[in-house]
Subunit: 209 residues, 2 copies
């Protein structure tokens, strides 16, 4: 029987390389991982596809899902809702796939509160100078946007210690394998193996004096 998958929530500073890290993990182990796709009420941008970047739904549909408990977490930014559909995540976990959820710090902590078995990971570059250099290196953002992201990072850093594990994304190659090993090792948690333990105890009882 397939062991249930592990739900992993990944947060981290903008510029830490979360996106690349997750894409690389899925590319290397496609049969082991599934990426959770969020639902949103915002309009698709050019090139975005329904069911790939997001599930694009109406405000009414989104609010119906909230009422029916169909979302693991949700938040509202600038008039739009964003949330994680529960049914898809459950189906993937049940099938033994590890589900990756990339969400910001407050959503992440809400998920952990509701599902304490969730693995909370925080991705960071090796230091602040490297973070700034990566944000500038993109060459696509204005100085104002870069300063905003750095201020945002400073605020997010205050939540770091509430995460379970930290991933310092220095070399992508190493970081992907650390991430994979970390999630794989969660399947060995005693709490993830209670049926095995019960069975072993029962089997051993016949030897008792």
């Amino acid at each position: 029987m397939n062991q249930r998958g592990i739900l992993t929530v990944i947060s981290g500073f903008s510029g830490a390389g979360k996106g690349t890290l997750i894409r690389e993990l899925l590319a290397r182990y496609p049969e082991r991982y599934a990426l959770s796709v969020s639902a949103t009420t915002r309009s698709p941008r050019p090139g975005e596809e329904n069911g790939r970047e997001y599930f694009f739904v109406t405000k009414e549909e989104f609010e119906k899902r909230i009422r029916e408990g169909g979302l693991i977490e949700y938040a509202q930014y600038v008039e739009n809702y964003y949330g994680t559909p529960k049914a898809y995540v459950d189906a993937q976990l049940e099938a033994g796939k590890n589900v990756i959820l990339e969400i910001e710090v407050q959503g992440a902590l809400k998920v952990k509160e509701k599902f304490p078995d969730t693995l909370l990971l925080f991705v960071t570059p090796p230091d602040a100078a490297e973070l700034e250099s990566r944000l500038r290196g993109r060459g696509t953002e204005s100085e104002e946007v870069i300063q905003n992201r750095l201020r945002q990072a400073s605020w997010e850093a205050s939540f770091m210690s509430r995460y379970d594990y930290i991933l310092v994304n220095d070399k992508l190659e190493i970081c992907v394998e650390e991430l994979h090993a970390l999630i794989a090792s969660q399947k060995l948690r005693m709490s993830a193996n209670s049926s095995f333990i019960t069975q072993m105890k029962t089997e051993l009882e016949k030897y008792q004096g």
Copy 2:
């Protein structure tokens, strides 16, 4: 700077293959691991070497260490003391080596109580039939000894759920790598990286508005 090593306590049923597993881990990654050597007041058996199997000490010396807090844990079996010298373990951890301690369940839980950061691992064969077959397969023990070990296993099983992780030793090759990945991933625990977090927070403060 070297990160401090992880203290790992390994317990498991007699016949689970703990010894082979640990030897293989040390053989593959000699620079990453150190095996803790116990002190004992029992006499050396033929072939045993002081400082390899055990540190052989007198009863007076052992009791002096107890009084001076020089042991991580100790127990008394059949007139003899067995214990884990603290100084050696500390020195190895400080040097960044992961220290492996192979001890029985009650000692293991005492260590975890005193040092909550300890990683507690329980090694088990895939099922009770396999355990019995491995014990018989050795071909060196009497039926009485085998029955005793199986009764002992049944008692030990009641402590399993208090361990952090379980290692099902089915294929040694896989189990060694699981063990290595598990210990390596402990260095990513948020609680093992508090100085990094503090530094990152401080560095990011300058970006605050």
